[in-house]
């Protein structure tokens, strides 16, 4: 092994640790790592540029632009207010309806965006009535991640897997719906059994009922007084629906999801010129996240260039040699799950994609090799629920709760989330066992 090999490993490991421990902004670290790879000659500049997966970046950018316009239409706030009214202040109904809207919203939108809309209302409703907010906050986090895991565009790790390997929107939907439905039910049962005291009806407590109805009215007044433009909402819903159709049927006509997302955003800008501005929306695009992705792609390409990924892949094959394909899937699922609990799952998945591709080359092609992607995607997404730093959704939601005066300590979070996450990974394992048997 030559010097470049060690340089590439050193750049990647130091950057990876700096990202994991939040020493500096992630995008800064990733971009610096990428530049160092070029500066030290690990990668020629043109190779580094071509390593940036513009398909992933384009899909994320398209969705971010669309989310900005859709949020601006007020349609989600309106929907949340309607749901609030529908709950009538009943804790179990608040739990179920908001879990549902969070999961559904997260299948198509960034889950942090969904949390920013839904969680303040959930917090206001539950906190005001004097309920324990913990189960509500934690369940909202879980359902935002679970919902995101269902689709190609629901979670950045899925975007990376899908666009890197060429798996489409329908591939995700068809392969993920069973395990995702199973874990959704599991979470519902878990909270229903272990946190029933926070969800049980309050119909015997006049004070709680009164505050609950008062808060519903306040929420209705606060969010409902916003004047909504019917034509704006109609256009937004129309394009959103067309984009979803594009994702679903694009696979059959060879229409790339990135093209669908970017086209959807552009058409939406043209159709809503009165209400939206591309200049404003471009400022809302999470450029640091996109630069973070770009930097990561270059760093991983650097590792590949010096043969480090091949080495890791070979080690993985050696470790799993002699074991069944199922065992390999389960190792992948749990490895991704545990890694996601501890570190940012985006760099992990970015690094793992070429490794898994390399492993697949060594396996019998008659095996259902695509299952490896689903195992990794499930592990990477769901594992993020397991710790307070497991995903950006957790960090944002716990931060929002703290801002509202409700501190959920790491210990409190782990007490509920860790066993539940392990159970979810257990259910996914069972799914693969049944599938392959």
């Amino acid at each position: 092994m030559d010097t470049l090999f060690y340089i590439a490993i050193a750049i990647f490991v130091i950057s990876f640790l700096a990202i994991v421990f939040d020493v500096f902004p992630k995008s800064l670290v990733a971009m610096t790592g990428a530049l160092l790879m070029v500066l030290f000659g690990v990668l020629p500049f043109d190779v580094a540029l071509s390593a940036v997966d513009l398909e992933t970046i384009g899909l994320l950018m398209g969705m971010m632009l669309m989310v900005d316009i859709v949020s601006g239409s007020g349609v989600f706030s309106w929907l949340s207010v309607k749901l609030t009214k529908l709950t009538g202040g009943k804790p179990w109904l608040i739990f179920i309806l908001f879990a549902l809207i969070t999961a559904l919203g997260s299948t198509f939108l960034n889950n942090v965006t969904v949390l920013l809309i839904v969680l303040p209302i959930v917090l206001a409703l539950t906190r005001g009535v004097g309920l324990d907010v913990k189960p509500f906050v934690i369940a909202t986090i879980f359902y935002s991640i679970i919902g995101g895991a269902l689709t190609l565009i629901g979670d950045p790790t899925n975007v990376i897997v899908g666009t890197s390997v060429g798996l489409g929107f329908n591939d995700f939907l068809f392969n993920m719906w069973i395990p995702i439905s199973a874990v959704s039910v599991l979470v519902l049962i878990f909270f229903g059994i272990f946190k029933w005291h926070s969800l049980k009806p309050i119909s015997g407590n006049l004070r709680q009922l009164f505050i609950s109805h008062l808060l519903i009215q306040k929420i209705e007044y606060k969010f409902g007084r916003q004047e909504l433009s019917k034509s704006f909402i109609a256009k937004v819903l129309l394009i959103l629906f067309a984009v979803i159709l594009g994702f679903v049927f694009g696979d059959f006509v060879g229409l790339n999801p990135t093209i669908v997302a970017l086209l959807g955003a552009m058409v939406l800008f043209f159709m809503t010129t009165k209400h939206s501005s591309i200049y404003e929306s471009l400022t809302k695009v999470e450029w640091p996240t996109l630069l973070f992705f770009a930097g990561l792609f270059v760093m991983v390409a650097g590792l590949k260039e010096v043969g480090a990924l091949e080495m890791i892949g070979n080690t993985f094959i050696e470790l799993t040699q002699g074991h069944s394909f199922l065992a390999m899937l389960l190792v992948l699922l749990w490895l991704a799950g545990i890694a996601s609990m501890l570190i940012d799952n985006v760099p992990f998945v970015t690094m793992m994609v070429p490794i898994v591709l390399q492993i697949q080359d060594t396996l019998d092609p008659s095996l259902p090799l695509d299952q490896m992607w689903w195992a990794m995607a499930l592990g990477a997404c769901l594992g993020g629920c397991g710790s307070p730093i497991g995903s950006s959704a957790n960090v944002v939601a716990l931060g929002l709760a703290e801002k509202s005066g409700f501190v959920i300590t790491n210990k409190e979070y782990l007490k509920i989330a860790l066993p539940l996450t392990l159970m979810m990974l257990g259910v996914c394992s069972l799914y693969f066992v049944v599938l392959l048997s």
Binding site: L206, L209, F210, S212, H213, L214, K218, Y221, K222, R225
Partner: protein, 305 residues
């Protein structure tokens, strides 16, 4: 009752009564005593908010009174029976409030002159309704909104824009620059207490003081039902929000204090617009004392507070 500063007392009262109606509808009591006990506990909680909101407390007292009278007269204790009694009481309040509001708006509109430039500040349903009615009647006036917390100012701005009322916004600490063009100041309030202080939105004190000194007529819009008919608490009951901030440009930490309400002497206001018409501070004090005595007698008869 932090909601009050966001929506105004009158709207909060509407919300409270609607919330109570729905809560009673959903409530499943374990018998008559349980219901009355829980209602009494709710009343105690409502009585002890900070600041105490007289309008709401009075409504709860009235309902308590209705419930007790009904309990003595009838022997039915079904949930539907209590609900019916309360809904009847709530309907009566709503009807009464509607008429009062109409009278107050009429008194307010009649105080407006041609080419008036009216300064407003807090979210006051009575003030805003008066302006809307004046516009509807074709009165020629302009509004200056004293800008305060963005959320509150935004609510006012949204309403004025919706009703096509001509307005401009000036930060509340820059009002001296537009002082000359302002002809009247319209303000709302939470209550008037026994010390003849007006409890109102934070920032009102500075505005009233400034315009009192410059002899601009200051109008206070308040229903006599909002009077706090009990002895004012001696302690400073308004909440404070403390926060420590670190400026990004320089590592300076400091405390930022915020207050929910101001107390302004009633005598600083020139005209008090009520459902009984336009009055001065002296007349209001007389009405207050009369109501206070009536309330004391009533309280002795019915309540344990």
């Amino acid at each position: 009752m932090g909601i009050e500063s966001e929506v105004g007392t009158t709207r909060l009262n509407d919300m409270v009564l609607m919330g109570l109606k729905k809560a009673i509808h959903d409530f499943r009591e374990k018998g008559e005593e349980d219901f009355l006990q829980q209602f009494y506990e709710l009343l105690e909680a409502v009585k002890n908010t900070s600041p105490r909101i007289a309008l709401i407390i009075d409504h709860f007292f009235h309902i308590w009174n209705v419930l007790n009278e009904a309990k003595q007269q009838e022997h039915s204790s079904s949930h539907l029976y209590w609900e019916k009694k309360i809904v009847e009481a709530l309907k009566a309040f709503a009807e009464e409030a509607k008429h009062e509001r109409k009278r107050m708006i009429k008194a307010g509109v009649s105080a407006m002159s041609k080419h008036d430039v009216i300064l407003i500040h807090s979210i006051s349903g009575s003030v805003l309704d008066t302006l809307v009615e004046a516009k509807r009647k074709g009165k020629d006036f302009e509004v200056i909104v004293a800008e305060q917390e963005s959320e509150k100012t935004q609510q006012i701005v949204e309403l004025l824009a919706k009703k096509k009322i001509s307005f401009k916004v000036v930060p509340e600490y820059m009002l001296s620059h537009v002082e000359a063009e302002i002809t009247k100041v319209f303000l709302g309030a939470v209550t008037i207490n026994s010390e003849m202080n007006v409890v109102c939105d934070a920032g009102s004190n500075a505005i009233v003081s400034e315009f009192h000194l410059s002899h601009k007529p200051i109008f206070l819009f308040i229903s006599t039902r909002k009077f706090s008919l009990w002895k004012a608490r001696s302690e400073h009951h308004h909440y404070k929000v403390k926060s420590t901030k670190t400026l990004s440009c320089a590592p300076v930490e400091f405390q930022r204090l915020k207050f929910s309400h101001d107390r302004v002497p009633l005598s600083y206001y020139d005209v008090i617009v009520t459902e009984m018409g336009r009055m001065n501070a002296g007349e209001i004090e007389k009405i207050y004392q009369k109501k206070y005595k009536e309330r004391e007698a009533w309280r002795k008869e019915f309540f344990r507070d």
